[in-house]
């Protein structure tokens, strides 16, 4: 497992976490390079389907991050997101999807160090968990189902 490099997708909002990640860079704080950042206007825009698509396309872990409560650029996007994440997390739990693979966090534009920390702890945790085999198997099995008759 030593050569396993986790693939982590980060869904972040433009105004806080993306700027925060920028700050991490300009502050020369090093963090794991396993993360691929996807920028959204707001956490309220991050559809739960996107998270599922990330797993389906081979992500081993996911980070979702945006402005702290009360700091949303659009006033309430992150409050809505929070409720949605609560429901999503509970549903995923109920369906047996590994919630240890998703990190939800609030990272402001000033928290460059926190961003590095969020990424590093997530990557370390995913590294310990190993590749998300059961989800990959689910996707592969579906492909097999389709070609079974060919």
């Amino acid at each position: 497992m030593s050569d396993f490099e986790p693939k982590v997708v980060a869904f972040v909002c433009n105004w806080c976490t993306y700027a925060g990640a920028d700050l991490t860079g300009t502050s020369r704080i090093k963090y794991a390079s396993n993360v691929k950042i996807i920028r959204f206007p707001c956490t309220g825009r991050i559809d739960f389907m996107l998270l599922l698509k990330a797993f389906a396309n081979g992500a081993d872990g996911i980070i979702v991050s945006g402005c702290h409560p009360n700091d949303c650029h659009y006033t309430s996007g992150n409050f809505h997101a929070k409720r949605r994440w609560i429901m999503f997390k509970e549903l995923m739990d109920f369906m047996g999807v590994d919630m240890n693979r998703i990190t939800f966090s609030w990272v402001s534009a000033a928290e460059g160090a926190k961003w590095a920390d969020v990424v590093n702890t997530t990557v370390t945790r995913i590294r310990e968990l190993g590749p998300y085999l059961s989800y990959k198997e689910l996707v592969n099995r579906s492909v097999e189902e389709e070609v079974k008759n060919e």
């Binding site: 396309n57 189902e145 389709e146 070609v147 008759n149 060919e150």
Partner: protein, 336 residues
Amino acid sequence: METTGKLIRKQSLEKLYNLLSANRKVYAPVIADDKQVEYKYNPDFKDVTFDHIRSTLSVKNVVFPKVENLFYYSNTKTESTITDIDINKIPEVVLWGAHPCDTAAFDILRSIFCWDIKDEFFAKRLEKMLVVGLSCHLSDEYCFCTSVDLAPNSQKGSDILLTRLQNGDYQAEILTEKGNGIVTSSPELFESISEEKVSMTEVKQKFNHEQVTAKLAGAFENPFWVANSLRCIGCGACAYVCPTCACFDIQDETKGKNGKRYRSWDSCGFGLFTLHTSGHNPRQVQSQRWRQRIMHKFSYMPERNESLGCVGCGRCSSGCPVDMNIAEQLEALQNI
């Protein structure tokens, strides 16, 4: 080929089953954990049921799978290439224990897939299938095979038709060369037919399909359709469980540069089935879609495909969440 009657002892049945499954995939009915009857590939003989009235889904997926890949493609910036699917790799399948209504459906499907131009996917699957049918010794209130020119022991579509005898042995009617091949390869399993009586259910005729077809010709604008489809919720259950429903969708699915075009089951009951891009929909409301379903099977198909689009299995009615009972409606249509 001339039909020959044989006898298979109860205990020889397992041998026949194992013989067939030795070099082919066998698709046979089992009772699942949730008590529903479903067909499975290569189940153990001890799990195979001989006492089912109908499986939840029909067996049409042997010849018309719910998803059929049509070809693969690969895209670069400007080029696309197509990779064919080798239909010769389609495996040989034995369909075991399908009732006469299900086996009769293959001819109807052929009349859809092979009229005018031939659908090779379907034709190949049909060719590679051996059917060991099983006459019905049980039936229920949803069955109406006798109303559509079939019977609990119809031979249509079977290569070998098994019928239970009252002592538990089986009569085996050898109906095709394919079926005869099995007898020739293991003659020890088949004996001469005995005098024993067959054990068979009776299915009451509910309507006269010719009269229904005649009535439908002038029934397009009849208020019957709205009145009798108000409760239809517009799901695709009836079409998906139906052994003869063959409407399909064609879709692409891409991952990165590569993808495939496939066809999958579709249903005329869905509102978006006929929706134009412009927003215009020729069948805008559910009654029009319900009319299409009945008309297609009992009016258009007899005229265009020279076959009725229904085998009287009763699945659409037993599976319908709101009791859209097709036999009842046809009975009513006969008298409008």
